[in-house]
């Protein structure tokens, strides 16, 4: 097996991975960097983010407000020291992107413009039309091209972390076009492989969001934190789950039920301001968890609109006018017209909540470090936690930059201070074992299960049992089902026996990762007997700070369900309070 010896390996080349790579290359041109990704970097799902990235720059804003919006938005499950660091760094990172060429939308005076976003008291979301994630990703990717020390391994599927002597010493990855496995011996590894929305039936996430990075760390013994907190984005297109940015509502769009009524005011987010004049942090600019939950209640009441794709509510953008829509929401218009045949300039758009983001992920501290020496994580695959129980829109893109860079700088510090080299013999042995596991999968015959069949059963049970509202019963059923699916997975046989770009193989590996990750979501949800942020239980409807002002930690068990433990939340300035998204007087 070919051995590639480097200083730092980065798994995942989306926003966080690319930012980390650039930070490494800028810091020291002699660093041997390997950037591995199972897709070409431009395909990373960062490209699908639309709305923008939050950072305090305007005179009427303050870091304190960004802090309190984020901590309150996260229902006080955020680690406040991490949030403090994050909000301070965000504006600098966004300015750095501006220097690198990101085409931020501008005010008439030439300064970067900001737009209102959900759950934020003051508007602070930098945006590039409604393709902010796309532009951020391409800016980072193109900027990275000027650093020859960043060696890219495009379309390499990372299968295992190589852990010896209690520390991470590299990883194995399959070159997808040849089927050959490579051993990457590295003094440090940074995982930036994204979230796992594909464990649910309806999601804004692309095919590649299968939690591979989370599974890598999980199986290596690192805990996954707060996995039960799954964000439903309120405005996804029905059927395909395609995202319509929160920016629609930031620009003044409203949500109405079948009676044309702005129903959000019935759920503590009123009163209803005039159409087209949104009041920040109320109504349609409330936090995502509350808006998605409101949909669920409206559906129960029979107020939703039945469509060929299921029940929906309507997003009304007509009052924005064609000029504003073409300028600020051109992609939204294109998507609506193409995929549901509705033009936002003239029609109401059918939308419904769809799974969008995982607040949970690989447990890291404020330095993006995991509990395993040498292993770092950043981006959606990580949980610092700055998002707590519910993420505010536009914090995630900023998070990629802030913690991508932080992970890189801390990884450099680690390798220069630890003084330990990679244990070639031990690591090679582990790599050969990893190869052995793939060979076993290839040689499996008489398979009785199909990848698509198991995947469908997984996504169905997650959607039914671990959706917007959960019960003891629904979660127990889902946990049992996932347990069953995990053992049935061993009966999967690959129909494709080729070594060349074998997507059957990669689908199987992705399914394995998803099953592991899904179980941490379901078990974590079952054990958390309270409602907080995006985790809502019909049987435990209140937030319970006495027992659950804690992060859930899920640890891998090879043969059984994950073991659950807890960890206190870091509270500094803001004691848990009431999340108030009403614009009215108390």
């Amino acid at each position: 097996m070919e051995k590639i010896q480097i200083d730092i390996a980065i798994v995942g080349a989306g926003g966080a991975g690319l930012r980390a790579a650039i930070a490494l290359a800028e810091s020291d041109p002699n660093l041997r960097i390997a950037l591995l990704s199972k897709v070409y970097p431009m395909r990373s799902h960062t490209c699908a983010a639309e709305g923008g990235a939050a950072g305090v720059i305007k005179g009427d804003d303050s870091l304190d407000l960004h802090f309190s919006d984020t901590v309150g938005g996260g229902d006080w499950l955020c680690d406040q020291d991490a949030v403090e660091y994050f909000i301070n760094e965000a504006p600098k990172e966004l300015t750095q992107l501006e220097h690198w060429g990101c085409p931020w939308s501008r005010e008439p005076d030439g300064s970067v413009a900001v737009r209102p976003f959900g759950g934020m008291k003051i508007k602070r979301t930098w945006f590039a039309a409604d393709k902010s994630g796309f532009h951020i990703l391409h800016t980072l990717f193109q900027t990275s091209l000027q650093y020859p020390s960043i060696r890219r391994f495009d379309e390499f599927y990372t299968t295992d972390l190589l852990v010896e002597d209690g520390r991470c010493q590299g990883c194995t990855a399959i070159e997808m076009s040849t089927g050959l496995m490579y051993q990457f011996q590295a003094k440090s590894v940074i995982v930036c492989a994204g979230g796992a929305g594909r464990i649910f039936s309806f999601t804004t996430n692309g095919a590649i969001k299968t939690g591979d990075g989370m599974a890598l760390a999980f199986r290596a013994g690192v805990a996954l934190k707060d996995m039960e907190f799954v964000q439903y984005h309120p405005t996804g297109l029905p059927g395909t789950g395609i995202l319509l940015t929160e920016g629609c509502r930031g620009e003044g769009g409203i949500l109405v039920n079948k009676d044309g009524y702005r129903y959000l005011q019935d759920y503590g987010m009123g009163p209803e301001p005039p159409i087209g004049e949104p009041v920040l942090k109320t109504m349609e600019l409330g936090p995502r968890d509350r808006l998605s939950q409101a949909f669920w209640h409206e559906q129960r009441k029979g107020n939703t609109i039945p469509t060929q794709w299921g029940d929906c509510v309507h997003l009304d953008l007509r009052h924005l006018g064609e000029k504003k829509i073409s300028e600020r929401l051109p992609l939204v218009r294109d998507l609506s017209v193409s995929y549901v045949g509705k033009d936002p300039v003239h029609d109401l758009i059918p939308i419904r909540p769809v799974v969008h983001y995982m607040m949970g992920g690989i447990h890291t501290d404020i330095n993006a470090a995991t509990t395993m020496p040498g292993l770092y994580a950043a981006g959606e695959c990580a949980c610092v936690s700055i998002n707590g129980a519910n993420r505010l829109g536009s914090n995630s893109l900023s998070e990629l930059l802030v913690f991508g860079k932080r992970a890189a700088l801390n990884a450099i510090e680690y390798i220069s201070s630890s003084g330990k080299d990679v244990d070639d013999a031990a690591v090679t042995k582990l790599a050969n074992e990893a190869q052995g596991r793939i060979t076993t999968l290839f040689q499996k015959s008489n398979g009785t299960e199909t990848i698509s069949g198991l995947r469908k059963e997984m996504t169905d049970t997650m959607e039914q049992g671990a959706g917007i509202y959960r019960t003891e019963e629904s979660l127990k059923e889902t946990c049992n089902k996932l347990n069953e699916l995990r053992s049935r997975f061993s009966a999967v046989e690959l129909n494709d026996k080729s070594n060349v770009f074998n997507t059957d193989l990669f689908s199987a590996l992705e399914l394995g990762a998803m099953l592991d990750v899904a179980e941490t979501v379901a078990v974590g949800a079952l054990e958390r007997k309270e409602s907080r942020g995006s985790h809502q239980r019909l049987d435990y409807t209140q937030r319970d700070d006495n027992n659950y002002l804690k992060h859930t930690l899920a640890y891998h068990d090879k043969t059984d369900a994950p073991r659950i433990d807890y960890r206190d939340v870091v509270i500094t300035k803001s004691k848990p309070g009431v999340r108030d998204y009403s614009g009215g007087k108390k």
Binding site: A48, Q96, H99, P103, S105, G110, Q142, G206, L243
Partner: protein, 247 residues
């Protein structure tokens, strides 16, 4: 919801077992609102799991799913079955070597993208603590169109010059060079001109315009290339007739 039985032919090729690619036919029960990609994923999930193809976002922003659909380069996630007859032929993107089934080798494109120096070469030295560059909405609009490229390479599949002359740098790479040339923050046009104002760069283009026709994001790479040809010509005259003037 109405369903339609569609015959989907896919060009298959596995270098380990095949000498040459050949078409394989599948009968797919398709929903009305499906795109071509939905039909292909149906085939993979329910009929033949060995079909290999790239896809991710399903919303025409990641650029993964470019294919030839009935002889035309298209994004399979944005090609609606309602616009096609009952028989559809799907092949890998033209002008690229086939790795496996619908997966093509993109190494050449990636190299060319890298070659044109597609990053800000700052006009003036400025650190992050100095703050943002000011850029008016008009200045942004000057180059914004050329930032929209999703690197789907449909333009390379459409461009006959790229098919006939593999050294040709090609539409998307040059449109990206142009994007940076027009950005008010950039001062690297000279360096990029050295790469693109060459025989294998803009001068290989004969303005067929097929690239702009098939571009799913209306980037108009053909326009970008012609604009660079004009800029390059003006450069040449300036250099030779007015050698005292700064480039």
């Amino acid at each position: 919801m109405s369903e339609r039985q569609v015959e989907v032919e896919i060009l298959r090729y596995d270098p380990e077992t095949d000498q040459a690619p050949k078409l394989q036919s599948y009968s797919v029960p398709c929903q009305e609102e499906w795109v071509v990609l939905d039909a292909i994923t149906y085939i993979k999930d329910h009929i033949d799991t060995t079909v290999s193809f790239r896809w991710s976002c399903h919303m025409a922003v990641c650029g993964s799913c470019g294919m030839m659909v009935n002889g035309e380069p298209a994004l399979s996630c944005k090609s609606f079955l309602r616009d096609y007859p009952d028989k559809i032929r799907i092949e890998p993107l033209a002008h690229f070597p086939i790795v496996r089934d619908l997966v093509v080798q993109l190494d050449d494109f990636m190299e060319k993208l890298n070659r044109v120096k597609p990053y800000i070469i700052p006009k003036e030295k400025k650190s992050v603590s100095d703050g943002q560059h000011k850029q008016s909405p008009a200045q942004l609009k000057a180059f914004n169109q050329y930032t929209l490229c999703i690197n789907c390479t449909l333009c390379y599949a459409a461009c006959p010059q790229y098919g006939l002359v593999p050294d040709f740098i090609g539409p998307a790479a040059m449109a990206l060079a142009h994007r940076y040339n027009l950005d008010s923050r950039d001062g690297g046009r000279d360096q990029r001109q050295e790469v693109v104002a060459t025989d294998e760069g803009v001068w290989e283009c004969s303005f067929v315009g097929a690239c702009s026709d098939v571009c799913p994001k209306q980037v108009d790479p053909a326009g970008a290339i012609q604009q660079m040809k004009i800029a390059s010509t003006v450069d040449w005259y300036k250099e030779h007739l007015m050698p005292w003037s700064k480039p």
